[in-house]
Symmetry: C2
Subunit: 245 residues, 2 copies
DNA sequence: GTTCTTATATCTTATATAAGAATTATTGAC
DNA sequence: GTCAATAATTCTTATATAAGATATAAGAAC
């Protein structure tokens, strides 16, 4: 099975082809985040297949959270701005309660040249221009996470401080509405480290406190990396939670 | 929607009822891990529904990795002993390569009384008897992870060192074949800490090296917790990887 | 006249069934 | 041993019906 769902004999099921066509319409922006896509019957006649076949294609996209379905209402393009939680990929939670409030404050924003490693991870040429955003996250009112975010200049042409503030530091929602870039999933890599002065100062911690370092690559359609992130988390009263099935 | 799939009017779709019946047969041990379950058509006639309805029930269980399907062969009860990777829930990987080999060595095994916190997490009464297993994991030949595993005595009656060794320290495979307990999923909680003498000695590290502490609760059918685990991981050359969708 | 309820028509997705295709393993002929 | 036929399995596709949501219109209450 390759990425298109074909087997060794080249046979591709109909519903896989439909899935591909739907994805293309999503990438092209024909159907925008938050908007409904045509009904199953409309799509069935458009692609000349049965409703059940369209349905199977949509089902798989819905299980990937690319689409969201509501019985009786329709199928919608998933959007960060309409999610229940504002930071859907944030795994930091307080030890003794459930996470209620997360607040983000912008530290600063710079135009930068991407270093070699960052450029490689973003699949752009080394030295290409980009952006560096630094911010601080407070969970339940306590400064917990210091983050550095790197964006490639080719996908993000101009990023202004005011723009970030307008979106309340909810970056993925901003990427979506301002740049048409929807983050679908992220890969994280975690390590335990001791922090240097700058970071401990930001988090108001004594030097050499052990911190959780979280490196993230965020992907949009077609597994294209479009954001790099490094966070340092104070885990004295918080933890990183994960469920594996 | 409650856990059984019923809505507010009490209506439960047929395929949800079938899913329930199949799960009951799995819990009761009618179909053992690694074994095939009856074919879709056999189950359809047994439950007096169509093959498609059985199929939908099986599909959901397969997506939860409770069952595994092979076209042309049949549907099988998922088993840890037949998985491609021997440590399916292990998220530790070397920084500069893909994980090739993981080896576990048993340190020791004790009968203990479960402390209050552990007992609460395992939903047994405080002071109930249980087991403590200590072991060391090496990734690519390098000692990386020190683990303490706590088991409740009511689910695990007698655990012998030899039994653990016989299974090459692959505990989830042992739980399955020796105690009939299949681990379906785990919840992990991560923190950055500095290690004490015992642990740094085991991992051959200087004192006060920052370590990744991984607390795990493992669940079997019906979200019943049956194992507690605390691991300390040297993340100098390794990391904890995670993908979030 | 305005507002609220209620019924109805119509749209949506969800469920159930059936028939045939694709895949795998087995059997038998050669 | 090799190859083709066969049987058993899951997979794909199509069709029909059910359940849920929404807009509209008619009627009742105020």
């Amino acid at each position: 099975m390759d990425a298109l769902g074909a087997n060794s004999t080249g046979y591709v099921p109909l519903y896989q082809q439909i899935k591909r066509l739907i994805t293309e319409s999503l990438v092209s922006g024909e159907w925008a985040p938050g908007e409904p896509i045509p009904s199953e019957f409309e799509l069935a006649s458009r692609y000349s297949v049965s409703q059940g076949t369209v349905r199977k294609a949509i089902s798989e996209l819905a299980s990937q959270k690319v689409l969201v379905r509501h019985q009786g209402k329709g199928t919608f393009v998933a959007s960060h701005s309409q999610e229940s939680t504002n930071f859907p990929f944030l795994r930091i939670a307080p030890d003794d309660s459930v996470v209620q409030s997360v607040e983000a404050t912008l530290i600063d924003l710079w135009r930068i040249k991407l270093d070699e490693i960052s450029a490689a991870k973003l699949l752009v040429s080394p030295g290409a221009s980009g952006w560096l955003i630094r911010r601080l996250l407070s969970v339940e009112g306590k400064e917990t996470l210091y983050e550095e975010i790197r964006l490639p200049g080719d996908s993000f042409e101009t990023v202004e401080e005011q723009l970030v503030l307008d979106h309340n530091c909810m970056l993925y929602s901003m990427y979506e509405s301002e740049f048409g870039i929807r983050i679908l999933n992220v890969e994280e890599s975690l390590k335990a480290v001791t922090a240097d002065g700058e970071i401990t100062k930001r988090l108001k911690l004594p030097e050499s406190t052990p911190l959780l370092r979280v490196d993230r690559i965020a992907f949009t359609y077609g597994d294209k990396p479009v954001e790099l992130r490094r966070g340092f988390c104070n885990t004295s009263n918080h933890h990183y939670r994960n469920r594996i099935v």
